[in-house]
Structures are given as C-alpha cells and as structure tokens.
Amino acid sequence: MSRTMFVVAFVFSAACAHLAANAAPFTLKSESVNFPDSDKTFPGPGADAINNNCLSCHSAGMVLTQPALSKDAWTAEVHKMIANYKAPIDPNDVDAIVAYLVRTKGK
C-alpha cells in the first residue's frame, strides 16, 4: 500500500515539475503561405561577380548590412561559403567578389 502511494506521489510530482498537462486536446489546421522575395542587387561598379554568384542562396540585404571587415576576413567568408556551404562560385570570380566586398565593406 505504502509502496503504491509512493509511486503515485512520485508520478504526480514528476508531472508537476515540468508540466501543466491539461485535458484540452489540441487541433491543427494545414497551412499554406507565401514568402516575400527580394529583388535587391549589389549596387555600383564591379558588382557583376557577386550578383552572379551569391544571390541564389541568399538575398543581398544581409551582406549589405555587414560591418566593415578586413580583406582577410572577407576572403575567409567567401571561402567558407565555397568550402562549407558548397556555394557554386566560379573560381575565376572569387577575386572579384572579395574585391567588391573590400571596396564597399572593407577596413
């Protein structure tokens, strides 16, 4: 008897420790939405390489709001996109992409 009570008490306190389990069943409904896209491109001269290679995975906005970074940091970012995220960047365009970033966001 006492053992049963212990088990019941334990289960009850374990439930209370973390949950306010309630009886109301939850129902879900299907969803269908649309996400906005951005037609923003990298502005100014020398932007062809970055516009041609970088916008398939992400819109331009986040790059345009990056802080000023060193050439080493921008080079590392571009190579991280290629090595880690498999960005299909034409090897011939890497220098032009880095040059654009350094010119517009360099320090």
């Binding site: 879900l28 409904k29 969803e31 939405v33 906005p36 819109s59």
Partner: protein, 413 residues
Amino acid sequence: MSSGLENDSHRHAMTRRYLLGAAGLGGLALSLRGACAETVDLPLPGGPDERDITTAFPQKGAMILQRTRPPLLETPWSVFDKGVFTPNDQFYVRWHWAVIPTSVDINTFKLNVHGHVNQTVSLSLQDVLAMPQVELAAVNQCSGNSRGFFEPRVAGGEWANGAMGNAKWTGVRLKDVLDRAGVKPGAVQVRFNGLDEPVVPDAPDFKKSLAIDHARDGEVMLAYAMNGEQLPVLNGFPLRLVVPGWYATYWVKMVSDIEVLDQPDDNYWTKTAYTIPDTPRANVTPGQTGVKMIPINRMVPRSFITNVSAGATLPAAKPSLLRGIAFGGDSGVASVDVSTDGGKTWTPAQLGKDEGKYSFRQWQSQITLPSAGKYSLAVRCKNASGEAQPDTPNWNGSGFMRNVIETTNVVAS
C-alpha cells in the same frame, strides 16, 4: 564600466524614409502598401545601423528585416516591454537554407523515427496529438543574439538584442516519441532534421543532434503549439524541437525526421558549425588560435531594461519605475539587481511572477536619480546555479553567447 559596454539598443529611433521621390514608377508599384517604409536604427558600433521594418512575412506583424531569403527577422525591442511572453506574430525568425516549404498538409505530414531503434515508426500528427500533452515556458534565443554589439565586429547576422523570445510551448515529450520506436542499447545521440533543404544539392542539410540522455530527459519536447496557438510556419509549423535552457540552434523547426545514432554525429551542423571556444564564457582574444572548440550548448543569464531607452530623460529627485526582463539560461532567475551609477552600487529588483525556470522573468525597481545630470543605468541577473552576468563582454569569432551586463545611459533633469 567602460563606454564599450553601452547598449543603446533600446533607443531604436524610428524614422520614416519616404520612397516616392527616389523610387520611380517601378518602386511606386512595389510600395503602394504604404507609400513609405518604416526603418529602425540599431545602435551597432560602427554601423551600418539602418534596417527596414517589414510586415511582408506571413503570420508576422512588424519585424526588423535582417535578411529576406532565407528569412532573418528580429523582434522589435518595444515588444519585450509588453509582457513576459513574446507574441507569435513578432517572435524572431532564423532560417539557414532558403528552401522552406510554404505549405504543410496536416493529413499527410509524417514524423519518422528510425536508426538505432527496435522498430522504425512513422507518426501522423494525429498520432502525436494523441500522446500525453505537456506544457513548458522557455526562452528561445539565437546563439548569435546581440552579435552586432561584438567589438571588434564579426561577420554574420548583425542582430541587436531581439533574436530571442519567450513562449509557452505545448507538445509532447521527446522521450515519449523515442519510446514509440524503442531506443536500442548503445545509442549515443539523437539527430533531428526538418523539412527545409539547402538550395545547392550537395550542401549540408541542416540537422542537429543531442546526446541520448539529454534527448530522453523528459524536458526536451516536440512542440505543436506556442502561446496556445499552432506554430507560425516561420517558427517551425507543425512540430518544433524545444530544448529548454539551450541555444536555439538545437530547436530544429519543421521536424520530420528523428534518427537515433550509435556513433557521434559527424554532420557539418553538429560537428563544425555552431562551435564555441572551450573557455570560460566562450571568450577568446581576437586573433587567438589553437583553441579547442566544442558545440555550443546551454544558455547563460541575461537581463535587460525594457521601459527606458538610452538617451531618455528621467525626472531628477523623483521616483521613476524601471522595468525589464531577465532569464537565467539553463536555470531559474535567482536575483536581479539594478544600478544607477554604472555598476558601482546595486539594489535588488522586485521579481514578477515565476513562469518556470526556463522562462523570461519580469522585474521592476523604483529608482530615484538624486539630481540633474547623466546616469548609467545597469541591470544584472544571477541564476539559481549561482552564475552571474559578467561586467566585461566576451568575444569569439562567431559572435556567440553575449551576456555582459547591459548599460543604458540616461539624463535626469
């Protein structure tokens, strides 16, 4: 404290940038929704500060636009003063890959559990909804929340302090889901995958893993609701992993696949991405190399003033009410202290209702600034494990785990 600790993030000066003059006819068609775009200035050291306020995302109200695709949407700071729970329509959003389903049919969606288990199971949402229901209040915070305040600055999503939110999550225990399949002896980790996919086919799909004991601790859950409503699509409808006290990178959205592993996960997102220096507060010196890196894990305490902005004027020699939020990270809020002299002296704040140890906790304090002049208001939190916010900021190359004591400069007159 040094001026380097100043956090002007509460200012968020609103400006209106009229587009009609500059946009031309093409722009006119795009901007008919409002003929003007609202912007916000995030006070990030060195800038750039300006971000658009967007209302263009489904199931979302006004959000700070950090990136359109894949979406990075920050919660405007004023939202955090309204209550301890962050409304779903202004809860921040962060996705890694741009291929995100725009529709989910609840009648065909399946949650598969497989790998090192006794039997593979494929659960419908009805199956999940029929399981014992649990509810838990918990903070979801991006690993890189406040990255924009790092000095020297680092690359990444340049968030101010709004890449966090607190919700009451409703769902089922992960342990119960795993028990449906029956975890075999020798399991070491559990890996979670969602419906989102990389744009580039051979790029690493976003997956995260938890240690088997963590996954089965009875607290980690699969949520089908937040704040009493089904999840917004951008927050992970129909099922999202909730890992109380841990950074949001583990809170996989649109979870459809759970794999029990008998070997440590070697996928990019668990092994390589989201790692931190294995040092106190994940802190290193800029340029420091040769530091052992480990996966980011539990959160650390933070606290903020929500009702007074930097640059605000408060009455001199009269009481003013300071109010804000705090959270303990992976344990509850033990205490919140307030300073009006930049951290030289501290006074305990009054804590609001306890919604659980993983939740935001509101606090308030009555202060009196004795005479006209400049003051540095600061707030600090200590958690139930005795861990306190530090008075100097941490630094690492990823901009992770900021939790320095925040300071808000005001004027009394």
